[in-house]
């Protein structure tokens, strides 16, 4: 379970507060107008940016002061999710061992993960030799071997076309179902949320609201969400 206790984030004129918990295994969309602080919230959870006050806990353990790589978290950013100078297999392998010391078994896991996302046998290629969709798949393969209980997605598929994006979301959905991981995913498209999210965190006007049931919320949007959806 992810808990945000009286979290306050301040940066010049920007401020955001959050005080809620996300149950383990949930798929949650983070929705709100641009500039509201969706990405910042994820950054704080991932450990890239320190909160002003309050606490972030995972399964009751305080995460403050734990480095991003040491948190039980895997994350995909809007871009730059692969190292362009390393081939796909190594990019995925980094999810198992940062020093890339891989046993035969590890290598098999990498190959499995690549096959699982539809990139079987393409491990020796550099990211530049892949299409945009394939690059996203490769990043997802790494998420798979990382096997972290909390997955944060900061709109990694924003640059893909609608059909590809849907395909990726389905893949993500299947992966988290399979691993039982908790998913927090920033999105500005309610369709994305409708497609895979069980709950929605609405970020608006300096507050990240506690998660609420996605279907109910979209069927009967509260005032803030309605303003955003237009």
């Amino acid at each position: 379970m992810l808990e945000l206790k009286r979290l306050e984030i301040r940066q010049q004129s920007f401020r955001l507060s959050a005080d809620f918990a996300v149950s383990a295994g949930r798929r949650v969309a983070v929705i709100g107008p641009s500039g509201a602080g969706k990405s910042t919230l994820l950054s704080v959870i991932a450990g890239f940016f320190a909160q002003t006050s309050g606490e972030v806990l995972w399964d009751g353990q305080l995460l403050d002061g734990v480095g991003p790589g040491k948190r039980p978290i895997a994350m995909l950013f809007q871009d730059g999710n692969l190292f362009p100078h390393l081939d796909i297999a190594r990019n995925v392998g980094l999810g198992i061992s940062p020093a890339l010391r891989l046993s035969a078994q590890d290598r098999a896991r990498v190959e499995d993960a690549l096959a699982r996302v539809g990139l079987g046998g393409m491990g020796a290629r550099l990211p530049s030799a892949l299409s945009g969709g394939q690059q996203s798949r490769a990043a997802l393969a790494r998420i798979l071997v990382q096997n972290r209980p909390l997955l944060l997605l900061d709109e990694p598929f924003a640059a893909l076309g609608p059909a590809l994006r849907v395909e990726m979301l389905d893949l993500v959905s299947a992966l988290v179902r399979e691993t039982g991981a908790t998913l927090l995913m920033v999105s500005h498209d309610p369709e994305d949320a409708r497609r895979i999210a069980e709950e929605i965190i609405l970020v608006d006007d300096g507050v990240a609201h506690p998660p609420e049931d996605a279907a109910a919320m979209l069927a009967n949007p509260p005032e803030a969400l309605r303003r955003y959806l237009g």
């Binding site: 940066q11 910042t40 950054s43 991932a46 450990g47 890239f48 940016f49 320190a50 002061g65 480095g67 991003p68 790589g69 040491k70 978290i73 895997a74 994350m75 950013f77 730059g80 999710n81 692969l82 190292f83 362009p84 100078h85 390393l86 190594r90 980094l94 999810g95 940062p98 020093a99 890339l100 550099l126 990211p127 530049s128 990382q146």
Partner: protein, 513 residues
């Protein structure tokens, strides 16, 4: 910006910065202690300071002003040989000073090419000696650097803007006002400050071409205080004066500079749609041709002068080459290691500290180390390590200017991804930094190797029987009436400097993707 709670590798940067400060400060302290305090500079020292400031300012202004049309032509013209021309702009900077002065004299000297041509038309003879000669030589060394920095600025203007300008059919004057001038306003002061700082510590050029005691630089005054008066207190005070001057200039350069003049991508020809024709085309061509002749002439002269004596070289040549190559490779290696560590701090203060060695004369450093080592071990035994150390410090500012911005870019682009994957320490170095930094690392190592190759440095202070380097051999040949053999030595030295730079730069190659 968001501060990162984890600071991977930063500690190594702070350690390196502290080390640099100690390596620069402790020798000065040792000299002060030995001298029993400082001695205030006299009137001749103030005159030296004035001359130093004058020549450095003029050199900076002329280098940058003359570089402008060349960089502009390179930025907007596509022609065969453009790559070569850009590569050539790196040459004078890594040329050993004494060799370069030989080449300049062959063109601009009393019996030089220029006076020869002028005599045909009943003109001349022109004399190169004096303030103008010093400035001319400094322009030869630094104008190419300015060209690179300004060209980099030009190429940093997004090509979409030029596309827009072409679409709107803006006249050249408007293109300049709207697109180019704002860039130049950022780039020019930095280029000037950098060249000013480099010229402040100039020694041999001012000495040989200066034409007399009018052209006494602070560095010469230090040399004199040490070697002729053995006035350590005055030497140390002068060194401090020079350090403060360069520190101010370096900080200025750092604050206002965006462009580092490094090699990556400069030879890439970006599309331009607005290259004006007519007289502007001719002017660009003429500017490029003149600059080309100005840069190639002295290099060719060195080559020609060196050919005849090649058969007459002493048997000490090969060991001297061996020693120089070893010193150069070790210096290149240690320079990039230190520069990489300093870059890892990702801090302007640390980077500023890395630029400080620009200000300290090798003689002061060498003497300081000598004083420190002397009670422990005969300093001559450590000639090689000390030479490598001093060369490393001297090359550091240049290598750091190349590496630090590249390091920042890599961390900006991939730092977060690496953090989520817990890539730290050696893993981060091996799987992220080294591969992404290959090109700037190669460039920085080449620069350090070449600079170190041509440096006579502290070897004369520490030298003993077997520790002869190529510049020292060349100097010894000159000192034994054997100027032909010395010229050949100069040619070999030039070849080795370029060779080592080329090897490293090539080894760095183009970065992936």
């Amino acid at each position: 910006m968001a501060q990162r709670p984890v600071a991977i590798g930063r500690r190594s940067g702070y350690v390196a910065a502290a080390l640099i400060l100690a390596l620069l400060g402790v020798p000065l302290l040792a000299i002060f202690l030995r001298a029993g305090g400082g001695v205030l500079p006299g009137p001749s020292d103030w005159a030296a300071l004035r001359f130093t400031l004058t020549q450095a300012s003029l050199s900076a202004v002329f280098s940058v002003v003359l570089a402008l049309p060349v960089a502009r032509a390179l930025a907007r013209r596509r022609f065969p040989g453009r790559r070569l021309m850009v590569a050539l702009t790196g040459a004078p900077f890594i040329l050993p000073v004494v060799v370069a002065v030989m080449g300049l004299l062959a063109i601009f000297g009393a019996r030089g090419l220029l006076n020869g041509v002028a005599a045909h038309f009943g003109l001349g003879p022109w004399r190169i000696y004096g303030l103008h000669g010093v400035v001319l030589a400094h322009v030869f060394f630094n104008m190419p650097l300015a060209v690179r920095m300004i060209l980099q600025g030009w190429q940093a203007i997004p090509s979409e803007r030029f596309r827009l300008a072409a679409q709107l059919d803006l006249p050249p004057r408007q293109v300049f006002r709207l697109l180019e001038w704002p860039m130049l306003r950022q780039v020019l002061p930095g280029a000037m400050a950098a060249i000013f700082a480099i010229c402040l510590a100039s020694f041999a050029v001012a000495l040989i071409l200066g034409g007399g005691p009018r052209a006494t630089t602070v560095e010469l005054a230090i040399y004199q205080a040490f070697l002729f008066d053995f006035d350590l207190g005055r030497a140390a005070v002068l060194a401090l004066m020079q350090t403060s001057l360069v520190a101010v200039a370096a900080i200025l350069a750092l604050l206002v500079t965006r462009m580092d003049g490094s090699g990556t991508g400069l030879d890439r020809a970006l599309p331009r749609w607005d290259s004006p024709g007519g007289w502007r085309r001719l002017a660009d061509g003429a500017g490029l041709a003149l600059a080309g002749v100005f840069l190639i002439g002295p290099l060719l002269a060195v080559a020609v002068a060196g050919l005849s004596g090649l058969g007459d070289l002493p048997s000490g040549l090969w060991p001297a080459i061996g020693n120089s190559v070893v010193v150069s490779l070790l210096s290149a290696l240690s320079t990039v290691v230190v520069a990489l560590a300093l870059s890892a701090a990702m801090s302007r203060v640390v980077q500023g500290i890395g630029l400080l060695p620009l200000a300290l004369s090798p003689l002061v450093l060498g003497t300081g180390y000598f004083l420190i080592l002397n009670p422990v071990i005969a300093p001559g035994r450590l000639a090689l390590p000390v030479t490598v150390l001093v060369n490393t410090l001297m090359a550091l500012p240049f290598s750091l200017r190349v590496l630090a911005p590249a390091y920042l870019r890599v961390e900006a682009d991939f730092g977060r991804l690496a953090d989520t994957l817990a890539l730290r320490g050696l893993s981060r170095l091996r799987w992220l930094l080294l591969p992404r930094l290959r090109a700037p690392l190669g460039f920085a190592a080449g620069l350090a190797g070449a600079l170190s190759m041509g440096d006579l440095g502290v070897i004369t202070l520490f030298g003993s029987e077997d520790r002869q380097t190529l510049p020292l051999l060349m100097y010894r040949l000159m000192g034994a009436y054997r100027s032909e053999a010395a010229a050949s030595c100069g040619l070999i030295l030039m070849g080795l400097s370029f060779g080592i730079f080329w090897l490293f730069d090539r080894g760095g190659g183009k970065s992936h993707a």
